[in-house]
Symmetry: C2
Subunit: 453 residues, 2 copies
Amino acid sequence: MTAPHPGTSALLTDLYELTMLQAYRACGMNDTAVFELFVRKLPPQRGFLLAAGLAQVVEYLRELRFTRDEIDWLATTRLFSDDFLASLEDLRFSGDLHAVPEGTIVFADEPLVRITAPMREAQFVESRVMNLLHYATAVASKAARCVLAAGGKPLVDFGLRRAHGAEAGLLSARASYIAGFAGTATTLAGQRFGIPVFGTMAHSFVQAHDDEAEAFLRFARAQPSNATLLIDTYDTEAAARKVVEAARALAAEGITIRGVRIDSGDLAAHARRVRRILDEGGLARAQIFASGNLDEYRLRDLVAQGAPIDAFGVGTRMNTSADAPFLDCAYKLAEYAGVGRRKRSEGKASWPGRKQVFRSFDAQGRFAHDVLSLEGDAQPGTPLLAPVLRAGELVAPLPALAQIRAHAQAQIAALPDALRALDEPAAQYDVVVAPALRALADEVDRRTRRSAA
Amino acid sequence: MTAPHPGTSALLTDLYELTMLQAYRACGMNDTAVFELFVRKLPPQRGFLLAAGLAQVVEYLRELRFTRDEIDWLATTRLFSDDFLASLEDLRFSGDLHAVPEGTIVFADEPLVRITAPMREAQFVESRVMNLLHYATAVASKAARCVLAAGGKPLVDFGLRRAHGAEAGLLSARASYIAGFAGTATTLAGQRFGIPVFGTMAHSFVQAHDDEAEAFLRFARAQPSNATLLIDTYDTEAAARKVVEAARALAAEGITIRGVRIDSGDLAAHARRVRRILDEGGLARAQIFASGNLDEYRLRDLVAQGAPIDAFGVGTRMNTSADAPFLDCAYKLAEYAGVGRRKRSEGKASWPGRKQVFRSFDAQGRFAHDVLSLEGDAQPGTPLLAPVLRAGELVAPLPALAQIRAHAQAQIAALPDALRALDEPAAQYDVVVAPALRALADEVDRRTRRSAA
């Protein structure tokens, strides 16, 4: 029997959410709580983040429920009272969700989502909401850097095999597509999300033949309109010459070779030599596709060298966000029972209250600065957070993926130059904390210090 | 409607597996293929790898099948012939699987699994087999380093929220438990794998109260035998004194506080001051639990400083294997139709043939060196790969998780000292390539060069 998707189990949570829920219940604390998820500090290699993963959060919140089996299993831990376990049967998400739209660029301290709900609901969803938003945002941000580096050349997600598990493979295809990738090799992302799927051939296909040229002929005949031949199994340039010969034979059959792929060695040098061989062999329209350990840094170098590469497969380093595989994000209580809350833990203090981000633009339509303030404290600029769920129901249909992708493209186009730099961004984007928010933080601190005295 | 687990869909694969299958079918190539999965080169921060993820690979291979919906969706891509799509209906894994047992230490070039099956099966499973084994092995290897660094103190996996998706959250709990962690906060891993689950409280519980001391009393009353109180929300030492007071009040009710958790600041300095406060307050038996940005390097430092910390929560950096978030692994054709195969791509050459690893031990029972040779070429030492599936069926029941964990413990204990170093391992472990394997590689090269001439 196939186990259900771990992501759809209410048990995919940190145990402490449940121990806290039991304690809240014991003392009758179920007033409205407001939690916000934000990134405390960007990794040094990131000048901006691209928000993603909201559609999955909405799906999770709308489908949240405990099954009988799950509650029965919790009983076996002997950590919970029967009364508490019975109370889990009707746990649903009935609250409000505000969020920055997917594909929006965000910075440190800016809430990506705000959840307003009875405490048990708002608290319980912490682990999975973070698990979903954190990964999608980390990958979309990495992928956006690849798109910036590629100078308009198409990128395809090749990273399923080394993504961290099934869901990472699937959701990184979506996050990178939002960031501007042309598509993915992950077939399931085609079915689930309608993302264009791409595929070439593996070395094994060539290796399984005694003759590389025969492998090329056979593959092209099986994919008459779509064959991209992998040419680095043995000797890249020798293989390119075989492609030229094969193309001559195939032309008589009405078959065109779409292109070749190079997956190892000095990609720029190989691409130059292969381009010449293809051009001289009458295959000027055959494309060169390159892959192998690519990321934004290598893409930038290949583009700067003017390598005659038409498109890139980008895998592992993008799907794992290898140079910054996690974000310092937090899901923090900002208000409970109508009163602002924050923690002051060393290096991890958070801002209280229901916050809003107001973004100002310069004359060219580029981001000028953001103001972080309270929802009720209108500031100049465009507010970024908008309602998504009200009392657990969608306020409006979620945007289509194409719409999210177009939004991301516009956001990336509006980035100030200093934030596009791939290396440690020299300038940090200005997120101004408004006086009203500082005043609330002071008030909260005075109150908690008084109670501590 | 809840979407099924992405990991159980046959479409969780790279598109090229399918385009190749179509080409193999078109030319009638379905002889026996042998593929092996290995790591080409260890990351510079790793002296060894701990193999994990085999149970999930076995589950995947045994459950592999296309649904009608999946085949119908593939038809919409217009990349495949009706005849080929119909052939997917009966795709099952009917081959053999040999593997290094989970919890075994392995090195570069050593096969973790060998798959021997008709070409279409052996080729098709590549993407998901790698996706599963790569992540579990990367995390188990990282977790083993944490265990080595912690000097016997218990570690608990806290990393669900920043693991890369649902499956990564679940499987990293399993991989780290195999490596020697005491348990996990990921509740689902308790239900699915029987791993001990642990949980304390979050800052939000304290923040939601106007009075921190009141929060402590309430949490302890709701968890009378199990309360670990989080004391760094505002002022760590002040909170420790409140814990002492709370403990006095609670003693009258028969409630004991199990311990406290510190999650920020200088953990060693705080732990020393808190230990003194607890001891002087009569809470000598209350444990100190520490968490927050921990990994093997910080664990080593805390242990070296003699910090009075009883147990650690280790999260993000372990679950993402943050200093080496991917392994340079490959799944390569080693034999087809009875003939050895390898590729010679620059920097990515592979060894041909059905291989076996023979491990020798020194007089103290520690690893001395390995020999990589062909299955039929017996060498001194213990062979590491053993049959797991034969014709798609289990040769024997898979070991229980406790058994795998004990095996890993014994393997870690048998590591030579040089390989235990956390920093760039000075010594590299000796994996000797046997003459028989070199001879086969030469023969394969002569053959493929001849055909290329």
